[in-house]
């Protein structure tokens, strides 16, 4: 069908494009500019060349934040594995299964701040977890979970995984229900037991969902902030143990008023996200060629 040129399609797109230009494209360009300046948000930016980037390279906290953010990506395979398992568990006809499915979804809608506060109190020095561990004799002394540099990041990651599993399981559940029953029958005839049939039928069948969840959950992991903010009480944790790249960006820009330096961190975040996304797409594409 050939149509003469009309303005109509563009008119439909104008609001979205204007908003994206104002709140995404312009800010990216502005951040690039600010990253070469000394800037505190209030007074006009002053050009300093590559000083911010030079400082970045020699800043141990930046490298720590970068490492923590990279470590945080471990949450992604964990959440995928657990939510696929959960989807398989709830994909059966049992009375009341809808209620269970709804319950597992609760953390996904409750909001990271409310969840973070709940978890923070569970992990307090005299909180619930220590109380249980001591009264059952597993511990004799309370552990300072949230001020111990070894535990802050893993606890935040656990929180992310815990809140994400129910959410992603819904995606996987929908995927499972789209897999034709005949494939499972065929697998059974071929002698697959109930575990093998999931390995040989469910997992390949869930491929599009796994790709989707891998992308969105790892992008979310790269920009984690709320959990760290609440769990470490805005400090980033002892010895920056919980400081992620976005947390460091926030602190430099909005606590320490180093918006120029923070912009350089933002550019590092952007590059990290781009490299990671391109790498991820490559890996996932290579995987899909073989299937």
């Amino acid at each position: 069908m050939t149509r003469r040129f009309t303005l109509t399609p563009y008119l439909f797109l104008v609001p979205a494009l204007a908003l994206v230009a104002t709140f995404v494209v312009y800010p990216i360009l502005a951040v690039i500019f600010y990253s070469f300046t000394d800037f505190d948000i209030i007074t006009p930016a002053e050009w300093v060349g590559t000083a911010n980037y030079e400082r970045l390279i020699g800043d141990p906290t930046f490298w720590k934040a970068l490492t923590n953010s990279a470590v945080y990506l471990v949450a992604t395979p964990t959440v995928i594995a657990l939510s696929v398992l959960l989807a398989i568990v709830v994909n059966r006809r049992l009375r009341g299964i809808q209620i269970f499915r709804a319950l597992y979804f609760v953390p996904a809608v409750s909001g990271s701040i409310a969840i973070g506060i709940s978890w923070r109190w569970l992990f307090e020095r005299n909180g619930m977890l220590n109380s249980i561990l001591i009264s059952t004799g597993i511990l004799s002394e309370p552990i300072q979970w949230l001020t111990d540099p070894d535990y802050v990041l893993p606890i935040a990651m656990m929180l992310t995984v815990w809140a994400g599993v129910g959410y992603y399981a819904v995606i996987f559940l929908a995927g499972l229900q789209n897999i034709p029953e005949e494939l499972y029958d065929a697998a059974r005839i071929d002698g697959c037991n109930r575990f093998q049939k999931h390995w040989h039928v469910s997992l390949p069948g869930l491929r599009p969902q796994i790709v989707f969840v891998a992308v969105i959950s790892s992008l979310a992991a790269l920009k984690v902030f709320d959990e760290i903010y609440v769990l470490t009480n805005r400090t980033g944790g002892v010895l920056e143990s919980g400081t992620t790249i976005v947390f460091y960006l926030w602190r430099q820009a909005f606590v320490l008023s180093n918006a120029g330096y923070a912009s350089a961190i933002a550019i590092a975040l952007l590059l990290m996200t781009l490299v990671f996304s391109i790498g991820l797409v490559r890996v996932l594409e290579r995987g899909s060629e073989t299937t």
């Binding site: 494209v25 951040v31 701040i113 569970l122 109380s131 249980i132 929908a174 992008l219 790269l222 909005f254």
Partner: protein, 289 residues
């Protein structure tokens, strides 16, 4: 999963085993439910504990011996929770209606019309999905203060959140599912594109619109970092920002903090229960290749 047409020897024993298996599944499901709900339950139980009830004892005391609503009144005396709630609802409703409208407008030509630059525009929008929003907060902050003049108002939470590449992407998928003969027929009848969009297409993709709307609302409701940068005056705060203020205010009074958290979680839970079917359908529809 029924094995039709297959006669199984020893059906009685098989049935007994299946019964046992069902019980095992329920045990597992219940265990998982406890893991999921426990922090909230603990929060709620703490929020109704009186001053005589232990909240830090070893072993832990689960049930309140002297249940009370005092903690709730203490929080409501100190912080304008209803006001936070109203602000969150206002922002959520405005963002949802406008964002979904903008997305539905943009998604239609991307899905069903042919025009110069379509692919380029689509991939530009898709690329913005990758950009972390936090990256834009410094320039957005400057704009909020110097250009839009909406610092410390809820307008600052609405305008920057009106375009979502994700929603455009999802609605584009939905529009692509509409048979183009339907649109062509309407065109032959002389309907304008805007009329086709409004009277024919939007009703057809209503389930997708509902799903996208609900997700937009929940995302807006739970958004924290940007609102925390923009909102300063207590009366302008949304619930998550107010919750952090509350945590600072009641620093070690855990009973009151628990009451505050409970008050913010319950409304969104009710919202979720009411719209549960749409949540599931929306998430399910998100990934179809």
């Amino acid at each position: 999963m029924t094995a039709t047409g297959v006669v199984i020897p020893g059906a009685g024993r098989a049935r007994a085993r299946r019964g046992l298996e069902t019980v095992a599944w329920y045990v597992l499901l219940a265990l998982l439910a406890v893991i999921t709900v426990f922090p909230f339950l603990w929060m709620f139980l703490t929020s109704i504990k009186g001053p005589q009830d232990e909240i830090f004892s070893v072993p832990p005391q689960f049930l309140p011996g002297h249940p009370t609503l005092d903690n709730y009144t203490a929080v409501l005396d100190q912080l304008p929770i209803p006001r936070f709630f109203l602000n969150s609802v206002t922002v959520g409703a405005a963002v949802t209606v406008l964002n979904v409208t903008v997305a539905a407008l943009a998604a239609y030509p991307l899905a069903q019309l042919r025009f110069f630059g379509r692919e380029a525009i689509f991939y530009l929008l898709l690329a913005t999905l990758i950009v972390p929003a936090q990256l834009t907060y410094i320039p957005s902050f400057v704009m909020a203060v110097n250009f839009f003049h909406y610092y410390d108002t809820i307008g600052a939470l609405i305008l920057p959140n009106l375009a979502s590449a994700f929603n455009i992407f999802l609605l584009r998928q939905a529009f692509r599912g509409v048979p183009s003969e339907l649109i062509d027929a309407a065109r032959i009848d002389g309907a304008s594109e805007l009329r086709i969009w409004w009277t024919i297409l939007l009703p057809i993709i209503r389930p997708s619109l509902a799903a996208v709307a609900i997700f937009t609302f929940v995302t807006s409701w739970n958004d924290f970092l940007w609102p925390s940068l923009m909102l300063h005056t207590r009366d302008n705060m949304t619930l998550p920002v107010g919750l952090v203020a509350l945590q600072g205010f009641f620093s070690s009074d855990f009973r009151s903090i628990a009451a505050g958290v409970t008050m913010t979680v319950v409304p969104i839970l009710i919202f979720f229960i009411v719209f549960q079917r749409h949540f599931v359908r929306g998430l399910a529809g998100a990934v179809k290749g």
